[in-house]
């Protein structure tokens, strides 16, 4: 049991992510700060999920 997991930091604020049921995956919103983006990447790596580069595109609603 971890005392703290940086890989779950992105879940600290519900405005930072959405559950995309069409794609069956979590996605970050444009409200996610850089630390949450890096945390989400850690989560993806930890779970052997595609480690897509996270586009820093503030014109889109979601990342990844």
């Amino acid at each position: 049991m971890k005392s703290y997991s940086e890989a779950m930091y992105w879940k600290k604020n519900k405005e930072w992510y959405v559950a995309n049921y069409d794609k069956d995956r979590y996605e970050l919103t444009k409200a996610a700060p850089p630390r949450a983006i890096e945390s989400f990447r850690m989560y993806l790596r930890q779970n052997d999920l595609p480690d897509n580069p996270v586009p820093i595109n503030f014109g889109e609603d979601v990342y990844v």
Binding site: M1, K2, S3, Y4, S5, A7, M8, K11, K12, A19, N20, Y21, D24, R25, Y26, Y43, Q46, N47, L49
Partner: protein, 214 residues
């Protein structure tokens, strides 16, 4: 372990304090043996043995429902570990529970960090540091009783969507329960909640189902 390694290990222990007396160690070992729990490394424990006795009691309580966890061959072995970094505890080889010596010899720090995690929703609401052994024992039960936590969760929530299940668990159990997509932390967080008696509805349903299926 060669002489250099022993010396280096002793120096590491000394950073935390003075190891418990031989009498205290024997009392602790006897307490554990009476409850059929094997200990390893506790001669070098520098904290209060009452803390470890509580951990042992927490495991023994679960063994009433899941006796295999105290099986002579594959049952739980409690090991003191000075190299766990920021983990409170870990479970290795399905039945060896490592306790972080740094945290368990400093109960105030352990309580503080655990409470902070609960306040942020990372661990189950209402639980305290006593949930750590319950959490790790959940991993042992999963291994020895062949529990598939994710399938059980799908069944209870009547969904096949991992995302829907994880969204529910994030709100109703803990963020930590959703850390791994294979669901390995679901059972341990349910054990944490159920045996801490915090009235978590999902954990109670989950444990009831595990009990029926074993």
């Amino acid at each position: 372990m060669d002489k250099t390694a022993i010396s280096s290990y002793k120096a590491l222990v000394a950073q935390y304090g003075t190891p418990i007396s031989v009498e205290d160690f024997k009392a602790l070992r006897s307490f554990a043996t009476e409850r059929k729990i094997r200990l390893s490394g506790f001669k070098d424990f520098v904290g209060d043995i009452e803390t470890i006795k509580k951990v042992i009691d927490d495991i023994a309580e679960i063994a009433v429902d899941f006796p295999l966890i105290l099986d002579e061959k594959c049952g739980i072995r409690l090991e003191l570990d000075y190299g766990l970094g920021t983990d409170f505890a870990t479970t290795e080889s399905g039945h060896i529970i490592h306790l972080n010596a740094g945290y368990f010899s400093n109960l105030k720090e352990l309580e503080r960090e655990y409470e902070e995690a609960v306040s942020e929703g990372r661990f189950v609401k209402g639980t305290d540091w006593r949930a750590i052994a319950r959490h790790e024992t959940g991993h042992v039960v999963a291994e020895l009783y062949h529990v598939d936590p994710l399938s059980l969760t799908f069944e209870l929530l009547q969904t096949r969507s991992r995302l829907a299940a994880f969204e529910y668990l994030t709100d109703e159990l803990s963020v930590y329960s959703t850390e791994y997509e294979d669901g390995r932390e679901i059972i341990s967080e349910c054990f944490s909640a159920y045996y801490s008696k915090v009235g978590n509805q999902f954990a109670e349903q989950f444990l009831q189902k595990v009990g029926e299926d074993r």
